[in-house]
């Protein structure tokens, strides 16, 4: 799929995310909107065989380690046809399959139960190890947050994945630079991020996480590295903006874990649609 088409899908999913959160009256818009371009690229371009039997030979896998961004995942799964559109309204409601954080038991299309930060990368690593052991060509993608890498378990996994030569593992860091208590740089500095992962033995790529062309190119490069015999896992440092696509949310840490009110969601949706139409016009003209 072309970058332009993917951006169109991402904008549609942005609108669904805002609707979901407004309906639920709680949730995390900032990190869902910063991640949605990457999630869209994965689900509508890069990943193969999503939703087929987990034991199929070619079926790529996705672990959302930053579980609070799950509205982004639900939106993508809905667009893919795995969640009925009407069900999106049930996010965070009693009895819903759409739990506030990913739950692989209630909703088996979700591959790991996450939400306590720092755990998903280890799970993704285990999946990649099993696939290697079975000689399968499937790949595993894991999306982590920048605040999340303050967790010690992340660095345990950062240390072990290169040991096991997991070239089929690709980590994407949604580097939106904000966390609940403030800017990541103030709460607990994590820079230099790329150098740290390089030092741990990863192949590091650095991109603009909202530039679809760059996102697709990075995934392609990761894929080609493995094809060409690389034995190292890949770390994509994606610079993103919290709340991307909604000007009054962008870069505002206040929107980390606060749902928009209906009128705010409406305003946000108008802006996203306006920008999407402008982009269409620009590209057509």
């Amino acid at each position: 799929m072309q970058p332009k088409e993917l951006l169109g899908i991402a904008d549609e999913l942005r609108i669904w995310i805002l609707d979901m959160l407004a309906q639920a009256k709680s949730g995390h818009p900032g990190g869902s909107l910063s991640a949605i371009d990457i999630v869209t690229a994965l689900f509508f371009h890069e990943m193969r065989g999503i939703g087929t039997n987990q034991l199929e030979p070619v079926r790529d896998h996705f672990v959302l380690s930053k579980g609070h961004a799950v509205p982004a995942l639900y939106a993508a799964l809905c667009k893919k046809g795995f969640i009925p559109f009407e069900e999106l309204k049930t996010l965070r409601q009693t009895g819903s399959r759409l739990q506030g954080h990913p739950d692989r038991v209630r909703l088996p299309i979700v591959e790991a139960s996450t939400g306590s930060l720092g755990q998903g990368l280890s799970v993704a690593q285990g999946m990649a190890m099993a696939l290697k052991q079975d000689g399968k060509s499937s790949r595993v993608f894991c999306l982590v947050g920048d605040g999340e890498i303050q967790e010690g378990q992340i660095w345990e996994a950062a240390m072990s994945a290169p040991k096991f030569q997991l070239s089929n593992l690709c980590v994407i860091l949604d580097n939106n630079k904000g966390q609940i208590d403030g800017p990541v740089s103030q709460v607990m500095p994590i820079e230099p991020i790329g150098d740290k992962w390089k030092a741990f033995g990863w192949h590091v790529l650095e991109i603009d996480g909202h530039d679809m062309t760059q996102i697709l190119k990075a995934f392609e490069e990761a894929r080609n590295l493995e094809k060409n015999g690389s034995k190292t896992p890949v770390f994509i440092l994606a610079h993103t903006v919290k709340g991307k696509g909604v000007s009054f949310m962008e870069g505002n840490i206040g929107w980390h874990g606060v749902a928009p009110k209906p009128e705010e969601a409406e305003k946000a949706k108008q802006e996203i649609m306006k920008n999407a139409l402008a982009r269409e016009g620009k590209n057509n003209g």
């Binding site: 987990q54 034991l55 672990v63 739950d103 692989r104 038991v105 591959e111 790991a112 139960s113 996450t114 939400g115 306590s116 720092g118 755990q119 998903g120 990368l121 280890s122 799970v123 993704a124 690593q125 285990g126 999946m127 990649a128 190890m129 099993a130 696939l131 052991q133 079975d134 010690g152 378990q153 345990e156 996994a157 240390m159 072990s160 096991f164």
Partner: protein, 314 residues
Amino acid sequence: MAKSTRQAFGEALARLGQEFPEIVTLDADLSKSTKSELFAKKFPNRFYEMGIAEANMIGTAAGLSFMGKLPFLCSFGCFITGRYDTIRLSVAYAQANVRIVGTHAGVGIGDDGHSQMGLEDITLMRALPTMGVFQPMDATETEHIMDYLVKEWKGPAYLRLTRQNLPDLYPKNLPFQPTKLMQISGPAKGSPPARIAIIGTGAGTAEAVQAAEILRKRGIEIAVWNAHCLKPYDEKTTLEIGKQAQLVLTVEDHTVIGGLGSCVAEAFATQAQHAKLIRLGVQDTFGESGDPAELYDKFGISAKSIADRILREL
């Protein structure tokens, strides 16, 4: 022949690894101590050395299980259950089909002291929905539990094992009844039922059996039972024991808060009337270094201290 349950576990794992290619094993730099090395030597390609990083090992095992593997992940009980949040979410909530193996149970490890002793691991694991919690009393029972955990159990389970050797107690040729309490000794058939019963688990059962022998010589009959499964716990048999006996004791090398003592207390609490219950084990204190036999005396779970405790009740 006396054998540690960790040794019996390692042998069983290596045996089952032959028949079940989906078994993989992970260890966090303690494979010589947990005996997972017996599997590692036989199946090097299905053994993952994870280094001193237990949380990552737990999450990795969950991921392996999601791809159809049956992972055994091994460390000392205190270290592995100490990474509780990862077990809680990545394993239990996710219903990962993994077997968590915690060795070096209780004060029975002796010299190394509190920091290496699994003393709250049963409590922690019992609190997690669907987590099976198993603890064998000897080598044969370890074999049976391992067969059960590989061939029948689905979902997460915790297996608690000893560093020290334990005497053979499992009756020859007796079929294994998973999750059920089993009577080890007691009054001969036809004689009146014992008024005192002891329920042991793990290393505690051997001490209970010896305590009963000491008291039998004094003409006091005691029924001794073994609990190899702390969750799902056999409340039905426990209540039957509580009906027959006036005094019930539990013996465990573990804190009595949340361990076997709690299992029995919770069962008894469902009844308006039940036997008096004495919970022997680590009584809300820390472990310490020392000779294992001396520590069992000090913590009140040696055969002699159990017998003395019963005599004080009479």
